[in-house]
Amino acid sequence: MARLSTPPAIRLCEVTKRFPGAAGDAVGGLSLDVAKGSIVALLGPSGCGKTTTLRMINRMIEPTSGRIEIEGRDVTRSPVAELRRGIGYVIQQVGLFPHHTVARNIAAVPNALRWDKDRTTARIRELADLVGLEPSMLDRYPDELSGGQQQRVGVARALAADPPVLLMDEPFGAVDPVVRSRLQGELLALQARVHKTIVLVTHDLDEAITLADRIALLNVGGVLEQYATPDDLLRAPANEFVERFVGGDRSIRRLTLATVADLPFAQGPVVDRATATADDARAAMAAHRTDWFGLTGDGAFLGWVSRAALDAAGEGPLADLPRAVPAAQVAATSTLRAAMEIIMTSDTSVAVVDDGGKFGGVVTLERIRAALAAEPS
């Protein structure tokens, strides 16, 4: 509700760009609102105008027509250098200044703003810590750093003057997949601390799904095909183009979006050792059509007991029964995809949810399937 009263961090109104001599529009009448503190991915095939769109926000490219506002203010109303100093800018090739040390690279905007030396030095230290750079790196030249480290410096440099908005053009496109996924994780952790409004250009659906709160899927000519959360984009593609872009395995991709904790609680054939009787255990097995049941004690899962073990023990206390059936466990924070992997390789086709040491219910393939089929609440 608050969103309705405050203007979006970035608003594009009917923005069109046609380059001189081009046959068609690079971007055609694009309207888009980016909520404050969110990450929006501009996603699409090459030629869809995603980079052009990004570069119109900081006026590296001037729109042919239309209007762009940052926090309610038309970008053409402030001098271009001033506007850009309020917008962090990160590009694929990083573009660090090779003749400046890492520290001086990070200080580029503070120096242009003529901050005093102590303030700049303190800010450099703070940013190095924020993006995970060793202080010893600060005196090196960019060529002495790995690709991943250079990209961290690029992010630190963009954040130096604490701009509310960050534009990122394929920021992790030039690093290898292992480093890329680590940098993506770092960006999310960073965003949880700094709450910037981030517009990110990517051609990688998985990257958009991993990072973005909302995805703007663009078609050639800068036509917005769908603007939705990653889950909505995968669950309900707006048209054939979107469906083809997200691919036939979109259900599988959705598995990486939800965690086990998002599923409704399921008790499964599990009883508490303090209160349940042997009959309760038999009833639980009958209800779930299993030959084994689980025991909990003091809220924690203890293990699986086989029907054979129950029958052999007669009417003794359940707590004394051998818990011989191997139990597969998943953390409540695991993705559904990870849970699925564990269930498929378990003996029981059931994974027990470990919610910070407490029994958090059970997960089965059927429950995951049902969750994907259900409309989100």
Partner: protein, 248 residues
């Protein structure tokens, strides 16, 4: 036999007897060289700025400097005498002209070597155009410009000797004197000192360039910014030799 006995390659008494004349020639040689290169740098900077600023100007400017470079130096010194007389000006104008091709080329190459991503980042972070040129593009162009200045300087040291034909020319006057009198000693002295001067100036400029580019030092050859700064570029010597042949 007799002539050879009395006219060796070098007669050491000459150095003592004519020391004042040698010294004057050497000082004039250095002055002409530095003046020509300094003025050449100013003119080349202006031409390069125009070529970088206005794309259409780049081609005419490089063509012009290349044309100047093709004029035989003896002819050019002579051609100016009716207008500017036998003076330092007459010597300096051609010397400046011959530095332009290499200086303009090296300045343009230097600025064009700045990676597009670096320009893009500098612009995108909101640095003013002046700040971008002075703190980003110029420093990155320095290794190329220094190489150009070295070639221009070595070339000029050689060309100054040619200016002797119009009564200027520093060490060239010793060489010319030796030739006229078939007396080898002044020629040997003039030629040797020219070579030593060229080498010393080249070394000095190289050292200055190295001091200006600490980022381009002592690292494995990765990246492109230090191509012209590393070591004593052999291309410099080859270009200088070619320049003397072409212009002389």
């Amino acid at each position: 036999m007799l002539a050879e006995a009395t006219n060796p390659i070098i007669r050491w008494e000459y150095l003592v007897d004519e020391w004042d004349q040698i010294q004057t020639a050497l000082v004039q040689h250095i002055q002409l060289t530095l003046l020509a290169v300094a003025l050449g740098l100013v003119v080349a900077a202006a031409l390069s700025a125009a070529a970088l600023r206005y794309r259409w100007a780049a081609s005419p400017i490089t063509t012009f400097t290349a044309f100047v470079y093709t004029i035989p130096s003896v002819a050019l010194f002579g051609l100016l005498v009716p207008y500017t007389g036998v003076s330092t000006t007459t010597a300096v104008i051609p010397l400046v002209g011959y530095t332009l091709l290499v200086l303009v080329t090296s300045i343009l190459t230097g600025f064009r070597s700045v990676p597009a991503s670096v320009r893009d980042a500098a612009e995108g972070m909101g640095l003013s155009p002046t700040r971008r040129v002075l703190t980003v593009e110029l420093p990155l162009a320095v290794p190329y410009i220094v190489t150009g200045i070295r070639v221009a300087t070595v070339t000029t040291v050689g060309l100054v000797t040619v200016a002797a034909i119009i009564g200027e020319g520093g060490l060239g006057r010793l060489i010319l004197d030796g030739l006229r009198r078939t007396f080898w000693t002044p020629m040997t002295v003039g030629a040797s000192l020219s070579i030593i001067l060229a080498l010393l100036l080249d070394l000095s400029i190289w050292s200055i360039g190295r001091a200006l580019t600490p980022w381009a030092r002592g690292r494995p050859s990765r990246g492109r910014s230090r191509t012209g700064a590393d070591g004593r570029a052999p291309a410099g010597g080859a270009l200088a030799a070619h320049a003397q042949v072409g212009a002389g």
